[in-house]
Symmetry: C2
Subunit: 196 residues, 2 copies
DNA sequence: CCCGTTACCTACTCCGGGTAAGTTACCCGC
DNA sequence: GCGGGTAACTTACCCGGAGTAGGTAACGGG
C-alpha cells in the first residue's frame, strides 16, 4: 500500500477508535491492529499518539471550516449568514458525531493538541468576528472579540448538548443560537418589563 | 498527621500540581513527593489518579456553586441576578485561575471525570434554568433548556478567554455576558436595520 | 542480477499508574 | 509497664502502553 493511502487509512481508523473509546482509553496498538499494521508504522507517519490525534483534529477542523465557510458564502443577508453558518455547523457536528464529539466533549490532554485546538478555534472565530464586524460595524473591537468567544462557546456547548438529545435537530439548535444571538432574552422579558 | 488533615493537604497539593502541569503531565509520584508521603497513601485516599482529580474538581465546583448562589441571592431584580451571578462567576475563575483554569481549559480525559463535570454543570445549569424560568416564565421549556446550555457554554469560554487577557477584568467579562444575554446583537443592528 | 529504496515487522526499553505485603507508632485496657 | 489492635505509612514490586532500534522482504531501475 502506498504511503498516502496508508496515511488516509490510519487517520480513518484512528478517528473511529478515538471516537469509540476516547483519547485516553485508546492504545496505539489497537489502532495499529485495526489497520493491519504494526505500531512503528504509526510512529513513522505521525510521530506520537498526540501527533496522530492532532492530525485527526486538523482534518476534521479543516473540513468543518470549509463546510461552514461555503454555507455562509451562499448568503447575502446578515441574518441569513448567521443562520446558514449555524445550520452548517450543527449539521456537521451531527453527522460526524462519532469522531467529532470527542474533540468537543472529551478533553484530550496533551498540551500540543490544545494549542492546535485553539488555533482551529481562532480560525473559526476569525470567521465569526469577520461577520460581526461587517454586519455590525458600530460595535467596538473589544465587544466584537468578546462576543466572538461567547458565540463559539455557546455553539460548542449547544452542539455537545444536542448530541445527547436525539429529538433536537441541527436546525433546532441553529434556531436557538440565532434567536439568542439576535436578541437574547429580551423577547421573553420585554412584555413583562418593557426593558427590551 | 490525621486522616482529614492529610486529605486536605493532598487536595491542596494536587490542585496546585494539576494546575501547573495539567492532568496528563502530572504524575502521582510527584504529588506524593510534594506531600512528603508515598504513593500508596494517595491511592488509599482517592483510589486512582482520576479519583484525585475528581475530588479536586468537586471541591472547586462546590465552592463555585456556593459563591454564585450567594451572590445571586442578594439580588431581587432579574437583571441584577444575572449581573451578580456573572460577576461572582468570573471573579471566582479569576481568583482561582491557577487550579480552576485547568478544569475549563484542559480537557481531562477520564470518562468518570467527565461525568462528574457534567453533574457539576447540571447543578450550575439548574441555577441558571431556575432564574430563567422564574424571570421569563413565558419561555417554553425547550427554549429554557437550550438557553441554559448556551449561557453556560458562553460563560465558560469567555472565562477561559479572559484568563489570557489581563486587561479584561471580571466585571468586563460579566458585562459582556449580561449585555449579550439581555439583547444579543440587536443593539448594534437595530439602528441599521430596525429589526431589533 | 545487483543495489537502493520503501513499506514493514519483531523485540525490546522505560515510565507511570496501581498494588501486595510489611513496618512503625500510637492508643487502649489490664 | 505491656500485649495487642489499629491507623498512618513504607518499600518493592507488577503491568500495560508509549515510544524505539535494528532487521527483513519486496519492488523498480540500471
Amino acid at each position: 500500500m502506498s504511503r498516502a493511502e496508508r496515511r488516509r487509512q490510519m487517520l480513518d481508523v484512528a478517528e473511529q477508535v478515538f471516537g469509540e473509546r476516547g483519547y485516553q482509553a485508546t492504545s496505539m496498538d489497537e489502532i495499529a491492529d485495526r489497520c493491519g499494521v504494526s505500531k512503528p508504522m504509526l510512529y513513522e507517519h505521525f510521530g506520537s499518539k498526540d501527533g496522530l490525534l492532532l492530525a485527526c483534529m486538523r482534518r476534521s477542523k479543516t473540513e468543518l471550516f470549509e463546510v461552514t465557510q461555503k454555507a455562509m458564502a451562499q448568503a447575502t443577508d446578515p441574518a441569513d449568514i448567521l443562520w446558514r453558518g449555524m445550520v452548517a455547523y450543527f449539521g456537521f457536528v451531527e453527522s460526524h458525531s462519532a469522531s467529532f464529539a470527542m474533540i468537543l466533549r472529551e478533553p484530550i490532554g496533551p498540551p500540543e493538541t490544545m494549542k492546535a485546538l485553539d488555533e482551529a478555534r481562532a480560525q473559526q472565530s476569525g470567521l465569526i468576528a469577520g461577520v460581526l464586524t461587517t454586519f455590525v460595524p458600530d460595535a467596538p473591537a473589544d465587544v466584537v472579540a468578546a462576543y466572538t468567544q461567547i458565540i463559539m462557546g455557546a455553539s460548542e456547548r449547544l452542539a455537545q448538548w444536542q448530541t445527547g438529545r436525539p429529538d433536537v435537530t441541527a436546525e433546532d439548535a441553529a434556531r436557538y443560537m440565532t434567536d439568542f444571538c439576535w436578541s437574547g432574552l429580551s423577547p421573553y422579558i420585554a412584555d413583562r418589563k418593557g426593558t427590551g
